[in-house]
């Protein structure tokens, strides 16, 4: 059944968000809004050095400050285990113990070494300054390549190297690739290009910083952890491991959470420290991150060096793609960090056919904040490399970049379920269709004509156009694939739908939305499917006591996994209600039609509404023999495949060659996320994602000095753009329903971030190509653009 065959009422409509009334009237409850009687404030003493041995810590002065309740060093606060790392990609992985408070040395600027607990937030802050750490500063290494040099400072001495392990597709992938690339790169008949791209280190900027409140019921040994997290379920499991408190005594609540982008897909030292403090002190505690503190203490993303080689025929048929990545892990291996580059492993040949594919990556320790998943996680990196390279190949061949893409797209008629060169099976796509739509909106021929005219006139501002025809795998993920990749958890998710006696519907989801609007979308799904009022559906989430089963929200899985799980639970409810309806209407089940909440005996006007059936099911006065009371169902859904959205994005820029300034003049996004449950929310995801992608291309970069100090340590120096810096977004779509699930849906949460960076940089390089510029590193700051021009001229 596809959604288009169903009689829809609210699915596919742009329902306003159920979440918004609370948010915009200031009634939402974030962690910082939670106050518990007797609560103490927690402050972390952090290393001011990127790499320094701790020769001693004097906490006496801090303990003497009136209002300070406790000060502990790493030796004084005990844990059952270090912080949990969940993705040991293979046997090679080097996973150092990551103690919530470091004991021997600091490995990045911001590494917590001691914790203070005080009666107020201000006192905690004052007490931090009174802790006197005897530091012995060590040479630091923050550059990926420098970290692999033989004489580099070693972040974890026990390994004798900063190499944290490699992953090789040919060896480690559970699915075989199409063929080895060496013969193609040895073939003198083929055109070869080799590109190197450096991806800057990024700092996620969720509008709400992190925070933790731990409430304690000391006599019962029970704890409630309120955390600004995307992953309450995974947090509970891992806190049990680290703190030794059984899951049954541990409730984790993600209240209203103000964005994450992966930064809250993490198990942080502060989560474990606050829980350990509440246990040790028998009192509730609270920690709220400051923004500049978060720039050091919250995960970073992306930083890697990409080497990518393409081999193609002279007329532009792609034959082979070979990729080698070196990725910064920062100082420790956090929750899923070692596997992040792998999330792109099957995507570096993009949406193109090729005969051979090789991919490998190496993870490297550096004296920086740890990295981990950041919106798109591995897939923006892949799209960047292949989409930049396709433009480079087009230039090498003297072909139009659009023509080259068209020539190499996997054709629509290969689908459904086509096994691509990297070895995974893509369920559906229409790459030509999305690009055609993008070109139509753009009016490509007119734009090229204008560019030509401007160049001939010698205009000062240079016009450029760049494309990104992207694809990705999201909806993480089929558990059997995750298992084969050594991932530490499943990819299933849980959904429960329950009719209440009055006919309202209680929906419990195992995903944990934090700004996406899932409450709205899930209510749309359930309302349509069960034929109840949209306003009668309440969606609950983000509390392990309410929703004990779940795998949380990340990897564009809310709709692709969470809503499909709900839909399947709904099918179970309909099946049970049908049995009851047949019983009440004294007919055979097959004689019943279900539409708009009514079971009607075919060809008659005799019907039973599902709300009435729910009530009767609750009173249970007249149930068929053997039927249990109540009308509800739970589904644990494990997706059989990833979700495979794709699209074609285009950016038009004007570059001022004298100042290096780049203006994004137009931005067109044509995305295909299958069936759209709520087009307004799809558009919102595209807007936010594209904004973040443009930010990566033009603005955002965490920069460190030679000693490993973060020099972009506040929002005045780490440049998150706002509306004045961004073009209007022209958002369009195509709809190729996913054959993998009954809803036909694919994820859209990461699309814009995946697509945008290469579109922008390709446009800049296109603008500068008459000057001989072939690459501008990202972010393409005015100075980088200007220097690229100077280098090309000299």
């Amino acid at each position: 059944m596809s959604v288009t065959e169903r009689t829809s009422k609210v699915i596919g409509t742009s329902q306003l968000r159920k979440e918004d009334a609370e948010l915009i009237t200031g009634r939402a409850r974030f962690v910082d809004n939670i106050t518990v009687p007797g609560m103490l404030w927690v402050g972390l003493v952090r290393s001011p050095f990127a790499h320094a041995r701790i020769n001693g810590i004097d906490v006496a002065k801090a303990r003497e400050l009136p209002g300070v309740v406790a000060v502990y060093t790493g030796d004084e606060l005990e844990f059952a285990a270090p912080l949990f790392m969940a993705w040991p990609i293979n046997d090679e992985v080097k996973n150092p113990p990551h103690h919530p408070l470091t004991k021997d040395k600091a490995r990045y600027a911001g590494d917590p070494v001691a914790v203070v607990v005080a009666e107020s937030r201000a006192l905690a802050k004052d007490a931090i300054e009174l802790v006197d750490v005897d530091w012995e500063q060590l040479p630091a290494v923050t550059d990926i390549r420098a970290a692999l040099e033989p004489d580099a400072p070693i972040v974890h001495e026990e390994f004798g190297t900063n190499n944290a392990g490699s992953w090789i597709l040919e060896r480690d992938s559970p699915v075989p690739r199409r063929g080895p690339t060496a013969p193609f790169f040895d073939d003198p008949q083929l055109v070869k290009i080799k590109q190197e791209y450096r991806l800057a280190r990024l700092i996620p900027n969720a509008i709400e910083p992190r925070g933790v409140v731990v409430d304690v019921n000391a006599p019962m040994g029970e704890y409630t952890v309120y955390s600004a997290t995307q992953i309450p379920h995974i947090l509970r499991t891992t806190l049990t491991i680290t703190c030794g408190i059984p899951e049954a005594k541990l409730r984790v609540v993600a209240p209203d959470v103000g964005g994450g982008f992966g930064s809250k897909l993490e198990i942080y030292p502060e989560d474990a420290i606050c829980l350990a403090l509440a246990r040790k002190l028998g009192r509730p505690v609270k920690w709220i991150e400051e923004r500049s503190e978060g720039y050091l203490a919250t995960l970073h993303g992306r930083e890697m060096i990409q080497e990518i080689e393409l081999a193609a025929t002279r007329d532009g048929v792609l034959k082979a793609v070979r990729v080698n990545l070196t990725a910064s892990m920062g100082a420790y291996l956090r929750l899923v960090a070692p596997g992040i580059p792998m999330l792109g492993a099957w995507l570096y040949h993009g949406c193109y056919e090729c005969d051979a594919y090789d991919f490998q990556y190496t993870n490297v320790f550096t004296n920086n904040t740890f990295t981990d998943a950041y919106r798109g996680a591995g897939r923006p990196e892949a799209t960047y490399a292949i989409e930049r390279s396709m433009d480079a190949l087009a230039r090498e061949l003297g072909m139009d970049p659009v023509e080259l893409r068209r020539k190499n797209f996997i054709a629509k008629d290969k689908f459904p379920n086509y096994t691509i060169a990297s070895g995974l099976t893509v369920d559906s796509a229409d790459y030509h269709g999305t690009l055609d739509k993008c070109l139509e909106v753009l009016d490509y021929d007119a734009l090229r004509a204008e560019q030509k005219a401007r160049r001939e006139r010698g205009d000062r501002k240079l016009l450029g156009v760049g494309f990104s025809t992207w694809n990705e795998m999201c909806g993480l993920a089929p558990t059997r694939v995750l298992a084969a990749l050594n991932y530490g958890a499943g990819g299933w998710d849980a959904a429960t739908i329950e009719f209440m006696p009055t006919g309202t519907v209680r929906v419990v989801t195992g995903v944990s939305p934090h700004g996406q609007g899932s409450v709205t979308v899930f209510a749309q799904v359930v309302a349509d499917q069960l034929g109840v009022d949209y306003d009668d559906v309440e969606v609950l989430h983000g509390d392990t006591q309410v929703s004990p089963l779940g795998m949380d929200t990340y990897g564009s899985r809310g709709v692709a996994v969470g809503s499909v799980a709900l839909h399947r639970a709904g099918e179970k409810i309909i099946a049970k209600a049908r049995t009851l309806a047949a019983h009440e209407l004294e007919c055979a089940e097959e004689d019943l039609e279900f539409e708009g909440g009514n079971f009607t005996v075919k060809g008659t006007d005799r019907s039973a509404n599902i709300k009435g059936l729910a009530f009767n099911s609750w009173t249970a006065h007249n149930l068929p023999d053997g039927m249990e009371p109540g009308l509800g169902a739970t589904e644990l859904y494990d997706p059989p495949n990833f979700s495979w959205p794709n699209g074609a994005h285009c950016c038009v820029v004007e570059v001022d060659p004298d100042t290096g300034s780049v203006d994004t003049v137009r931005y067109i996004a044509v995305d295909d996320c299958g069936v759209q449950l709520n087009p307004m929310l799809v558009e919102g995801q595209v807007h936010g994602g594209v904004a973040q992608g443009i930010a990566e291309a033009l603005f955002e970069e965490a920069r460190y000095d030679d000693e490993g100090n973060l020099v972009t340590g506040t929002m005045t120096t780490y440049l998150v753009p706002g509306p004045p810096e961004l073009p209007p977004f022209e958002v369009h779509d195509t709809v190729t329903p996913s054959p993998t699930n009954a809803m036909g849906v694919k994820g859209i949460g990461e699309a814009g971030t995946i697509a945008a960076p290469p579109a922008v940089i390709n446009a800049i390089v296109d603008a500068l190509s008459p000057l001989g510029v072939k690459n501008v590193e990202r972010p393409a700051t005015p100075e980088r653009v200007w220097r690229a021009i100077q280098e090309a001229r000299s």
Partner: protein, 282 residues
């Protein structure tokens, strides 16, 4: 986010403010607070006390004396400067530039006195004050004195103000007859200038009679590009580019995450040419 402990006093009058400042070496004036409070929240500034002059309404507002000077109260906010008809008429470059400072919140809180007293070389209004040869009126325990802008900015976050003095007024020569431009090169609309260039040009007989060129963020203080000014004095409009090539002479631009010193030098030359050309076309 949480400043160090400090005392807070509300000044009831200018005299009271001076008295409070005079009695405490570590006291700082609080006007709009948009430079000081972020530094305090990062604990980079730790004044023992704040003397809040925000309620001294007599210090706010613009008045038009009969003479050649526009008198601007120290507590006049950027938003008011940008929209004040007197400023727009008599000193359009100041109104325009005030509209470029920070973001809306900053412009509705920040004051011209606070902006000048902060002594930030990346501050736009300091450059305008210097370019227009403004006079800064300061009052302290020993009474009032008038400081020429050229004498006011002493170094990085350092001014001629004594710790027990406050700015009461800024007097700006009226420039309605001159051509003007301020070009603020910045990454984001709300950022400080990576480099800013102010140009005030008087033309005669199709040529340039005199030009004043001010530079933002090209050294520890706002600067005048005197080499450019000399090259443009009495020059023809064809000589702008050659003159602008001297924009970075005598500067010592900072290197930071926004730009290297070299790139700032380059920008100052490009932007100076553009500013003069824009002024001439205005």
């Amino acid at each position: 986010m949480i400043p160090a402990r400090f005392d807070y006093e509300v000044a009831e009058s200018v005299e009271h403010a001076i008295e409070l400042l005079d009695g405490n070496d570590d006291a700082k004036l609080l006007a709009g607070g948009h430079s000081l409070l972020p530094l305090m929240k990062l604990r980079l500034a730790r004044p023992a006390a704040l003397v809040d002059i925000g309620r001294l309404s007599a210090l706010a507002g613009v008045s038009n004396g009969s003479g050649p000077l526009l008198r601007i109260g120290a507590l006049t906010r950027h938003h008011e400067l940008a929209n004040d008809p007197l400023v727009q008429e008599h000193c359009p470059i100041l109104a325009y530039t005030a509209g470029l400072v920070g973001d809306r919140q900053v412009r509705h809180r920040g004051t011209i006195g606070g902006s000048l007293a902060h002594g930030d070389p990346a501050g736009d209004l300091a450059t305008i004050a210097l370019t227009l040869d403004a006079q800064i009126v300061a009052r302290g325990p020993n009474g009032e004195r008038t400081i020429d802008a050229a004498e006011f900015f002493k170094g990085f976050y350092e001014t001629a103000l004594a710790p027990n003095e406050l700015i009461t007024e800024v007097r700006i020569p009226k420039t309605e007859a001159a051509h003007w431009s301020y070009i603020k090169f910045r990454r984001r609309a709300l950022d400080w200038a990576t480099v800013g260039v102010a140009a005030v040009v008087e033309s005669a007989n199709g040529g340039i009679e005199a030009a004043r060129i001010g530079l933002t963020n090209m050294g520890p203080t706002p600067l005048r590009a005197t080499a450019v000014e000399q090259a443009l004095a009495g020059a023809s409009t064809d000589s702008v580019e050659a003159a602008a090539a001297k924009a970075d002479e005598g500067t010592s631009p900072p290197a930071d995450s926004f730009a290297s010193a070299d790139f700032r030098r380059h920008l100052s030359r490009v932007l100076t040419a553009r500013a003069v050309e824009e002024a001439l076309s205005r």
